[in-house]
């Protein structure tokens, strides 16, 4: 299982904050995982298609080609605006 986490505008637009998913065969990196989630519906397709989307695996920012595996915590969020 992979623990998905969504924050800020993403959480509100997608209507989900936390979700556990079973990685399908062939989904081995972040780009593939996002592509798979985008197939859910139009909202997921456009929201996760935003080029400014940030991804963290186990609480560290990563690039789309980063491998993802069972037990990972994968967070998706918009650009940060603290400070």
């Amino acid at each position: 299982m992979v623990q998905l986490r969504f924050f800020a505008s993403l959480r509100e637009t997608l209507g989900v904050g936390d979700e556990q998913v079973e990685l399908p065969d062939g989904i081995t990196d972040i780009a593939a995982l996002i592509g798979w989630l985008q197939q859910r519906d139009e909202t997921w397709r456009t929201t996760l298609g935003d080029s400014r989307l940030h991804v963290a695996i186990n609480q560290t920012i990563v690039k789309p080609d980063c491998p993802v595996s069972d037990g990972d915590e994968v967070a998706l969020f918009p650009p940060v605006t603290g400070g």
């Binding site: 800020a8 505008s9 609480q59 560290t60 967070a75 969020f77 940060v80 605006t81 603290g82 400070g83």
Partner: protein
């Protein structure tokens, strides 16, 4: 030292602690306070909510402290960031750097707040008379 908290902080208390803790070794303490404004894109702001990513936030701030200490010759570093609901005028963030000389403290302080704005997982949502909206990251904002 890093802290993420809902409660307000007292800059006087924080600065006095840095002063006494670094008395003798530090010749300069530079600090920065970020506050909630009452206007953004001509919308009057009533409230602001700060969301964060518990766990990653602390890691990100600790990484900023580590990098800052490596890059400059400092005797102390403080980063405090608030979360939850804030009002215009409220303090959001406090960073301070103590060093033997002011140049190092100034540069470190500026680096910390700049890096925090791009690396730490906080998100601001403004409640205005024209509805709620998430703050965007256009250059020069935040």
């Amino acid at each position: 030292m890093i802290r993420v908290q809902q409660d307000d902080f007292d800059p006087g208390v924080e600065l006095e602690q840095v002063r006494s803790k670094n008395a003798g070794t530090a010749g300069a303490v530079v600090s920065f306070i970020g506050m909630v404004r009452d206007l953004n894109d001509s919308n009057t702001i009533r409230k602001m909510t700060l969301e964060h990513y518990p766990g990653m936030t602390e890691k990100a701030l600790a990484a900023i402290e580590t990098t800052t200490r490596e890059r400059w010759d400092l005797t102390d570093v403080i980063i405090i960031h608030r979360i939850g609901t804030l009002a215009p005028g409220d303090r959001i963030v406090f960073v301070a750097a103590a060093s033997a000389h002011r140049e190092q403290a100034f540069r470190a302080c500026e680096y910390m707040i700049d890096t925090l704005k791009t690396d730490a997982p906080f998100w601001k949502k403004e409640v205005t008379d024209n509805g709620d909206h998430w703050v965007s990251t256009a250059p020069g904002t935040g």
